[in-house]
Symmetry: C2
Subunit: 440 residues, 2 copies
């Protein structure tokens, strides 16, 4: 028989079980945290009509789309979870309760150039809060606490959620008569950490700004100090522009409430350089950095948008959301060995029968499972050494070997595979469960 080489496409992550257990653990941490804050699950198709999915898209994104024909339908794979959310809310508007708090965790597709750490299929983990017509700025203050809780649970301490409000910058641009250039200016400013001040200066000049205006912009984004000092300095700029003043009021409220929502002061700060270079965001924007690993880029980003679904509906649907690109994050954290598995195996215990008649070992496995202990029984006829090696390779924490003696004496030993410690106990599920509790 001719063999086909079993291989996986480049840019598609496929993990060995041990890594997959860790991946699932992180995904689970994110999901349970989203639920802890009362977000509702939705699950939209991976395939949508191209007309629907690409209603707003264009440029770079569109080139990366997996788009094809099936029968007479022009269809595409989703490239994010935001457009499907917009479709979902517009379509189900009458059946949803607002503010609509939804989470979605799922795979999305972008045909990017394949390179290390870049994926064409990757998980996004999104939450958004969508208002019907309006949405209080307090929602913007709640999201950082969700970011905080997740990264805390993942074992990180030294991370900073950087918060800004785009109305400040946009207001400034209006004030200096550069409104029509604002998207372009934002795009340039956004790169300041990467390319440095001089390069930003140069690019702004190329865009046609005069020295006075460039200096105003740079002075603005270089405002430093504590959050309170920055706010004070912003107030002292005496800018009268209405959008600027709204942004100032919004960011003051956001920052004030973030702490009440449980984020320690050391884990968030006002960062006037964050703009998230997209037209999409109109108010609050977030980026999150692991301070010792800035090279990872932002590990959780998002922001406020004026209108979720204006290409589908006349309803005004303002929203605020955040997204974690889980596949890339996992890849990086795993590479740097920054995450530890709570448990390395699925099974808590492996029963190894070493006798002809498997009745008693099987009964015991069944009883342990009924006590909610994740139990595996080695059913194939192999040498003890092979069976022990299996437990070892899978890092199953406890092993019970059952031979004729154990049956005869009604006693057995639970072996802790890590310490080698053995505990003698009754051949009885409830007793074993109790011993396991004591051993942990």
């Amino acid at each position: 028989m001719n063999k086909v080489e079993p291989r996986t496409l480049a840019g598609f992550m496929e993990l060995l079980p041990k890594e997959q257990i860790l991946f699932e653990q992180i995904k689970n941490t994110i999901e349970t945290t989203y639920q802890q804050y009362g977000f509702l699950p939705i699950d939209t198709p991976i395939i949508e009509l191209s007309e629907v999915l690409l209603a707003k898209a264009g440029g770079e994104t569109e080139k990366q789309i997996y788009r094809f024909q099936k029968g007479d339908a022009d269809i595409s794979l989703r490239f994010d979870l935001t457009v499907p959310l917009a479709k979902y809310v517009a379509k189900n508007y009458g059946n949803l309760s607002f503010p609509f708090r939804r989470y979605q965790i799922g795979k999305v597709y972008r045909g990017e150039k394949t390179q290390k750490g870049r994926f064409r299929e990757f998980y996004q983990c999104d939450i958004d809060i969508i208002g019907d017509g309006e949405l209080s700025i307090l929602n913007d203050a709640e999201l950082p606490s969700i970011i905080y809780t997740i990264f805390k649970k993942l074992g990180f301490e030294d991370f900073t959620i950087r918060i800004n409000n785009r109305k400040l910058l946009n207001g400034l641009f209006e004030e200096i008569g550069q409104k029509e250039n604002s998207t372009e200016i934002l795009r340039i400013i956004d790169k300041i950490e990467k390319i440095g001040k001089d390069e930003v200066n140069k690019e702004l000049k190329e865009l046609g700004l005069n020295t006075e205006n460039i200096e105003k912009i740079l002075a603005f984004i270089e405002i430093d100090g504590t959050n309170e000092e920055k706010i004070e300095k912003l107030e002292k700029l005496q800018i009268k522009n209405e959008q600027f003043l709204t942004g100032l009021e919004e960011i003051k409220q956001t920052l004030m409430y973030v702490e009440l929502f449980g984020v320690p002061r050391k884990n968030y700060k006002l960062d006037l350089t964050i703009a998230r270079g997209l037209d999409y965001y109109t108010g609050t924007v977030y980026e999150t950095f692991l301070n010792e690993y800035r090279e990872l880029g932002s590990v959780c980003s998002g922001g406020r948008y004026e209108n979720l679904a204006d290409y589908y509906t006349d309803k005004k649907l303002p929203g605020v959301g955040i997204s974690i690109g889980l596949t890339r994050l996992f890849y990086k954290l795993n590479e740097l060995q920054l995450i530890q598995a709570n448990k390395k195996s699925i099974s808590q215990i492996l029963i190894i029968p070493m006798l002809e008649n498997l009745d008693e070992p099987i009964k015991l496995a069944t009883e342990l499972r009924n006590l909610n202990i994740k139990t595996e029984i080695y059913l194939d006829d192999k040498k003890l050494k092979t069976k022990m090696k299996y437990a070892d390779k899978l890092q199953i924490p406890y092993v019970i070997v059952i031979g004729e003696d154990e049956i005869k004496n009604g006693k057995l030993k639970i072996k802790n595979m890590q310490t080698g410690e053995e505990i003698l106990t009754e051949f009885e599920a409830a007793q074993i469960a109790k011993s396991l509790d004591n051993m942990q």
Copy 2:
């Protein structure tokens, strides 16, 4: 702005949040049960190279594939989780521990004709146990207990796991000199419940079988009685064919151990008519029926195969597995209202602030979340009626309204939204948690 109509492709399930909560609950029941038996998670890409994915496929399946070109790659969406498993095991053979017990829950794609209850995108929930060279028949006896546990947990009592072994039928065909027709005969027999005995008789005749052989086949599959009686009758047939005798031994062992694995006698039976009409299975086969809803067809099926991945590797990899087609199952159960949600909302409690200063309500929400209570706080400025209606529509079980009085007095009321009962308690997270425990 021109609007695009927000719509979802036919044949693609997209649920409202309330139904999605129920769907997730069922998915979760299946996943945690798979884990309880020590199966390891894997997650393979939805997209594979067509050459890899279609190495073995052909006929009906191939026509349904979502296959397309991206750049210079000929790629396809997976149509099941078995081929990706075969690829995965062949590819990672050296890094896996055998018997390899894996579960995978994920979406698969088949461009079937759209009709009610048929889906083009659907979840499969699979487990398989793969041996390296060989795999004990005891593994075949373990799987029914997993099926049993899942449907029990989902609230069903009256269901039957029907078990057979294809070697019995295949051996019989050899005995009567119809080996080359066996696949075709199996396909016909498999339909006996649907089309009746006469039609089966007719189709076998059309296939070229003589009356004597047809009668032997029908006599065989009409063997009735208890499992023990059926085994006895099979033994009395005095068939000397080797495959038949192996099958007889295997099914005896399987049935004997199924009960030790915890499946009550009323929930499984030997059914000699089950063949699962595919070339794929070579030994044990399973189908599961909800007896009051036979029209649903088998809700969990599977079986034993000789060789998982012979189109990728020379390694002999026998396996046994089962699969639940979750999307269709959910659709049917939901339509018949056969499943109840454990909880109808994600949030356990909604805090409704009715005052200017939200500091105290927000602090309380944060503290409740830190106590692992799924807490939501209504942050937008609306009338009390609107906020209560929100809790009601989302079926959040408990509500706390906080106004100036609650702040002043340091006391608040927890309202049970279903019974209307209210409990007065201290304005303090730990006290509220305690009261919630008492109210449940």
